[in-house]
């Protein structure tokens, strides 16, 4: 398994506040990587930077051997079609129905017929465990959990190579969260999908992620759960030393 995304010497700065300072991170092909860290440690900024939504102060990001920062916008946009992104709040287009939200990328970027697009939309709905009649609703009529599912369905509709998830299970009930984790695991197994998720959910972190990247002191410490637990850094020990983490660790 090669490296899919590699981040080198990334520095992000807002005003005088430095969020990342010489951050290095490698994301392997076909792994599920969990990005964790305390609130305000720059998880979302890191994700936004990889997605090209935030221009870093300095540093390089390579995707499959290509450098993203110096890439022309058109090529970058083309590349990003192979990426699926699920935003924290869903980011569904509120003026489109669920069906049109999911079909939007298909309509824009594929040569599929209308019937094929509709059927593929229903396949995605079935995948994320939603009923068919949800398709006719508008995002404002959906519950929080359904918004997450529809958002995932939209992220999956172009069969991405990498899936970026920003807090996928936050706001879901435990049953849905577990189903969500299983869904990610299934997709990962069948599609060889690389998954990068920012998460606070220790359950999904322990059950789904192959590797964990923890943001500590404006840098990343990455490794398997075992490696991180063996790391004596006080922030890591504090993160995994809390009561909830300890209970879960005993289970896994």
């Amino acid at each position: 398994m090669g490296t899919l995304i590699s981040i080198r010497n990334l520095t992000n700065q807002f005003g005088t506040q430095r969020v990342h300072d010489g951050l290095n991170l490698d994301i392997m092909q076909g792994e599920v990587l969990g990005i964790v860290g305390g609130s305000g440690s720059g998880k979302s900024v890191l994700l936004r930077t990889i997605l090209g939504l935030n221009r870093p102060h300095s540093g390089e990001i390579h995707f499959g051997g290509q450098e993203l920062m110096s890439m022309p916008d058109k090529d970058f946009a083309c590349l990003k079609r192979r990426w699926g992104v699920m935003f924290q709040k869903g980011a569904l287009f509120s003026s489109l129905t669920v069906a049109d939200n999911i079909r939007f990328p298909l309509r824009e970027f594929s040569s599929l017929t209308e019937t094929e697009a509709r059927e593929l939309m229903y396949v995605r709905l079935a995948m994320v465990g939603l009923e068919r009649d949800v398709a006719r609703k508008y995002p404002a009529q959906l519950s929080g959990g359904m918004v997450k599912r529809v958002s995932l369905a939209r992220a999956l509709v172009l069969d991405p190579v990498v899936l970026f998830l920003d807090e996928p299970t936050s706001g879901l009930d435990p049953v849905s969260a577990e189903e969500f984790d299983q869904l990610i695991a299934t997709l990962h197994r069948n599609l060889g999908l690389t998954v990068v998720m920012v998460t606070h959910d220790l359950d999904s972190l322990f059950s789904t992620c192959d590797r964990i990247a923890m943001l500590v002191d404006k840098q990343v410490i990455a490794g398997s759960l075992r490696e991180l637990l063996a790391n004596p850094h006080p922030v890591i020990q504090q993160y995994f030393g809390g009561g909830r983490a300890q209970v879960l660790l005993r289970e896994h």
Binding site: S111, E119, P139, L156, L158, G192
Partner: protein, 373 residues
């Protein structure tokens, strides 16, 4: 890259799929499968050599297999991911049955009637909501006037600045331009009659009674009415209004009253500024094209224009302000969920506010005529 190997044995066809079957090749896959017209009873699709099979590609294969099955052929899959089959089984092709002829005939009559009824019902709801909003706002206004600690002075100052002071340049410019237009148009006509001095009366009366306040109100409706609707509408979609309610504060007291009071203060002041700028511009134009000097111009105004002409214009400003502020806030409160709704209600706020301002202006004209004001 996709690769398909065909192998025929007696009455069965073996399809060996190889390579990466992905979304990008969707068209190619579809054509390749459709080009196969197997004249056999059994088809076996073997996928063990496929290095990557994504959902789109798998679905296209599955769909083709379904079509073969409908043609009476037996299709077998080898190494087709089981999870995919579960997903696909949930999706059966839609069969849309057209409504029967009798039903169509009924709906032909029912539709307009039903549509009219729904429209009326909707109109009733809108009126109900508007009147409730108006009452609730007035109640909140009296509550805050009776107990001054509830009155949000800082917010009022903020909105006076946003709706009034920052609107001074554009309101002044518009007053200036409209006054130039009237002076040129009217002055030219009156000079032919040798009555150019009456230009002063004409400009002063039309600006002070009507145009100053009306154009200012329309400008403010466009600037601030829409801003009120958008601000409150976004707060509504963010559940900020709900948060206020849950905290036990009245959103009317916090959101509507300061905007209402601020606009009632700002609009008359803007009107006075518009009047001054318009008269100054008229004086300037008169002195250049009509040979009426500044002294002559203002002497004429002092002699012929009574204070009540100015008052007749100014007195309308607070009423216009109430209409603009309440319509803006009301439409903001009516926003629900989507960004489309936000746009719709913001537009509606401006359109309704301008419409109501003009209606009110017409009523004032009738009233002033009857009163001989």
């Amino acid at each position: 890259m996709i690769h398909l190997e065909k192998q025929r044995q007696d009455d069965s066809l073996f399809l060996h799929l190889q390579g990466e079957w992905c979304f990008e090749q969707a068209g190619e896959i579809r054509d390749m499968l459709a080009a196969l017209v197997p004249e056999v009873a059994h088809i076996t699709v073997q996928l063990q050599a496929v290095s990557r099979l994504d959902i789109t590609a798998a679905w296209l294969i599955y769909r083709q297999a379904q079509q073969w099955q409908q043609q009476g052929k037996q299709v077998y899959f080898h190494d087709f991911p089981a999870e995919y089959l579960d997903y696909f089984a949930a999706v059966t092709t839609d069969v849309v049955t057209p409504p029967r002829l009798r039903q169509q005939a009924v709906s032909l009559f029912r539709q307009p009637v039903q549509g009219l009824g729904e429209k009326l019902l909707h109109l009733g709801q809108v009126w109900h909501s508007g009147i409730t909003f108006f009452g609730h706002s007035l109640e909140a206004l009296f509550v805050s006037l009776l107990s001054p600690h509830l009155f949000r002075t800082r917010a009022v100052f903020h909105h006076v600045f946003a709706t009034g002071i920052s609107a001074v340049p554009i309101v002044g410019l518009i007053a200036c331009l409209i006054s130039i237009v009237i002076t040129y148009q009217g002055g030219g006509q009156l000079r032919d009659l040798g009555a150019e001095l009456y230009t002063v009366d004409m400009v002063a009366i039309s600006v002070l009674r009507e145009l100053g306040v009306l154009l200012t109100a329309i400008m403010v409706a466009g600037r601030s009415g829409s801003a009120f609707a958008a601000e409150i509408g976004l707060m509504k979609t963010n559940q900020e209004v709900d948060a206020l309610r849950v905290m036990g504060s009245d959103p009317f007291l916090i959101l509507v009253v300061p905007r209402l009071v601020a606009l009632v203060i700002a609009l008359p002041l803007l009107t006075i500024i518009a009047d001054i700028v318009a008269l100054a511009a008229a004086a300037l134009i008169s002195s250049t094209i009509l040979d009426i000097s500044f002294v002559q111009f203002f002497n004429r105004i002092e002699a012929n224009i009574e204070f009540r002409t100015f008052a007749a214009g100014l007195i309308k400003a607070p009423f216009f302000a109430v209409v603009i502020a309440l319509v803006g806030c009301w439409q903001g409160m009516r926003v629900s969920g989507s960004s489309e709704s936000l746009g719709k209600h913001t537009t509606q706020a401006v359109v309704d506010a301008i419409f109501l301002v003009l209606v009110l202006d017409a009523l004032f004209s009738i009233l002033f005529y009857r009163l001989g004001f």
